[in-house]
Symmetry: C2
DNA sequence: TTTACTGTGCTATTTGTAATATCACAGTTG
DNA sequence: CAACTGTGATATTACAAATAGCACAGTAAA
C-alpha cells in the first residue's frame, strides 16, 4: 500500500490509485484475497476524501480487479492477474509511443536500447 | 491539415492539435515557411471555437514551432525540426510505457518485436 | 480609400468533472 | 449494543477546457 499521488498530473487521482493498485498486483506486492486497508484508513493516509478513494475501487471492482464486502473490507480478486486487459493496453501504449518517437526522428537502435536497458538486470533466461 | 480530434480523450483539444501539427512537421507533411489555413478556416473545418485553435498555435509559437503575422497568417518555422524537445518527450514516453508493460508481465521479446515490426519496411540501413 | 480578409486581445460565460464535504443506511464482528 | 466495515445519495467547491462575442490592428487587393 505505497501509493504516490502526483497532484500536478493531468491524470485524475482516482486513476492514479487504480493504476498503482494494478501495478502492485502484477508486481506480486498485492496477492489474491489479500485485504486492503479500509477506505477510511486509506483516505486518511493519503490525505484524500473517502469518495475519491471509493471511486477508484468502485471502478476496479467493476473491472474484476477487486471485490468488496460491506462490513468487512476490500480484497484483491483471485483472478486479477488473469485480467490481461491492462497488459494489452500497456503493450498498445508502447506501440503508440514508439510510432510517435519514430515520427519524431528516433531510429530503431535508439528504441531497442530503451527496451534492452529495461531488462539489463534480468539474468533469469539468456 | 488532417487533424483528428478525439473528443473522448482526456488530452485537451488544443494539446491534440499541437501534437498533430508537430507530427506533421516531422513527417514532412508540413514544410518550412508553409502557410497554414487561417484560424477561422481551421476552426470552422474542425467545428471548434477559434479560441481553442488559437491557443494551440499561441503555444506552438511560444515553442518556436510556428510563427504568425497579423493580417497574413500562420506559418511553419524554418527550424521547427531542430526542436528536439518533442523527440526527447517521445522517447521518454516510450520508456514509461515500456516500464509499465514490463510490470504488467510483458517480456523483452514482446517489446522488441513491437519495435522491430515498426521498422520492418525500412530498408534504408541494414 | 474601401473591402475583406488576417491575427490579437480581452472579458464573460458555459460546461464538465475532479475532489470535497456531509449525511444516512446497511452489513460484519465481537 | 458498539465499533467498525462498505454503500449510496446529495450538495458544494474548485478548476480548467471550451465557447461566445466583441473590438482592434495589420495586410493586401480592388
Amino acid at each position: 500500500m505505497n501509493i504516490f499521488i502526483d497532484y500536478h498530473s493531468r491524470t485524475p487521482i482516482y486513476e492514479q490509485i487504480k493504476e498503482q493498485i494494478v501495478l502492485d498486483i502484477n508486481r506480486g506486492v498485492l496477492k489474491a484475497d489479500e485485504q486492503l486497508p479500509s477506505l477510511r484508513q486509506m483516505s486518511a493516509q493519503l490525505g484524500l476524501n473517502i469518495n475519491t478513494v471509493k471511486r477508484a475501487f468502485s471502478e476496479l471492482e467493476a473491472q474484476g480487479i477487486t471485490y468488496s464486502v460491506a462490513g468487512k473490507g476490500i480484497f484483491i480478486n483471485a483472478d486479477a492477474q488473469k485480467n490481461s486487459m491492462y497488459l494489452q493496453q500497456a503493450l498498445n501504449d508502447v506501440k503508440t509511443a514508439a510510432i510517435n518517437a519514430k515520427t519524431m526522428g528516433a531510429d530503431r537502435e535508439q528504441l531497442l536500447t530503451i527496451i534492452n536497458e529495461l531488462f539489463k538486470g534480468d539474468e533469469s533466461n539468456d
